[in-house]
Subunit: 165 residues, 3 copies
Amino acid sequence: MTVYHATTLVHFPLHKPGFEDVTAAAVEAVAASGVQNGLLTVYSQHTTCAVLIQEEAMDQTLDGVELLLQDMVNGLTTLFPTCLHEGQYLHPGPKHLAYATDHGEEGWWSLNTDAHLRSVMLGRSQSIPVIDGKLELGEFGRIYFADFDGVRERDRKARFTVMGE
Amino acid sequence: MTVYHATTLVHFPLHKPGFEDVTAAAVEAVAASGVQNGLLTVYSQHTTCAVLIQEEAMDQTLDGVELLLQDMVNGLTTLFPTCLHEGQYLHPGPKHLAYATDHGEEGWWSLNTDAHLRSVMLGRSQSIPVIDGKLELGEFGRIYFADFDGVRERDRKARFTVMGE
Amino acid sequence: MTVYHATTLVHFPLHKPGFEDVTAAAVEAVAASGVQNGLLTVYSQHTTCAVLIQEEAMDQTLDGVELLLQDMVNGLTTLFPTCLHEGQYLHPGPKHLAYATDHGEEGWWSLNTDAHLRSVMLGRSQSIPVIDGKLELGEFGRIYFADFDGVRERDRKARFTVMGE
C-alpha cells in the first residue's frame, strides 16, 4: 500500500474570488505516487478556500474567471452577499478582532466572512478514483482550487494525498 | 490491502432532474470487494451530476421524484434558476458553443448551466465507512446519484471505489 | 495498512441547530490508530447532520453558537426556511407520516425537512490528510459536527475512520 502526499502553491491576487485549475498538478501527483488503483484526495487546509470539480468553460470574464465559475460565484453571492461593511455579518466579533490585531493582523482583514461561508458550501476537498494509473475526471472535468477571500493577496497550498497500490 | 472499483449505469429521462437510488449497487460493490473494514467512495465523473446521502422520503411527486429530493431541487432553483433562455447565465460563451457544435453537439444542449451549478453545490462524491463488512448508512440513509441536466436523455456512470482490508 | 474506526457521542439540545467541535476527538482517533500517513474521514450516518471544517470564530451568540456558524445558518435559512407549519415543504408526505406514527414517533417529529435539506448542502463527511501523524487543519481550522434538527433533543454519533500506515 502506498500513501503519497504532495502540495502545490497557488497565488491569488487582490479583490476577487480566485480559481486555479490544479488538474495538471493532480495528474502529476498520481504519476509520482506510482499508485495504479486507489483514490486521490485534493484538500484545502485554508478555511476561505474550497476544492471543486467542474466542466472547463473555455470562455472567461474580463477578469479572467471562467464563465461557469463566475455564474457559481454570482449564485453564492445571493446566499452570502459580499462583505461591504462591518455589522453585515455577526462574525467577526470583538474577541476575534482583538486576537487578530494582537497577532499583527489588520482588523479589516477579518471582513472576509463571505469567503468563509461560500467556501464551506462547496467543501474543503474532493476525492477522485485512480483506475489503472488514470484519474477519472471524464472528458471535460477539471479540478479547481478556489479562494473566496478578496481582502488581501494570498499564497495558498493545495494538498494532494494519493492512497492505493 | 484491497482496492476494488465497480460501476453501475444509470439512465436519466428527458426534461427533469433525475435521482437514482444506488444504495443496492453500493452494498453489492462492498460485498464483491471482500473488504471488511475501510471506506466506500461513490463518485460521479459527470459535471452535471452529484452524489448525495439523504433519508428515504417514501412519498413521491407525480413525476416520481421523492418529496425530500424535490424539496431540495426547489430550494436549489431559487439559488440557480432553471435555464429558460440564452443569456440567463454567462455560460455558455462563444468559444464553448463553437467547440460543442464543431463536435457534433446541438447548441441548445449547452443550456444546462443550472445543472452544472446545482450539482457542484452537492459535490461529486460521498465517502462512507465500511465496518465489519457493513456500509454505515444508519436506518434510513440512502445513496442517490443525481443528474440535474434536463436538456437531453442521458446514460450516466456511477462509480464505486472500495478501499480497505 | 491500518483501518481504524472510532465514534464519539454528541448531545444536541432542543429547538436550535447545534454544532459540536469534534477536533479533539479526531486528533485522538488519529493518535489511537497509530497511522502516520493517510487520511481521516469524519462522517455522519444521520441525515439531518453534517460535518464541516471552519475557522474558529471565538465569539458566540447568546445561545452559544459561534458567530461564523450562526452566519452560515442564517444564509442557509434563506435557502431552506425553518419549518413552521405543515405543507411548507412537500415532505413529509402521507406514507412517511403513517410509517413514522406506526413506529412510535410523534407526527411533528417529521417537521424537520429544513434540517435534512440544510445538512445535505454541507455534506455528510470530511476527509483530511494525516501527515507524519498530524492532522492537517491549518492554524485555525476546526471540525464541526452539526445537527440541524431542532424538533427534539438527540444523541448523535460522529464517526471517524483513519486509513493509512
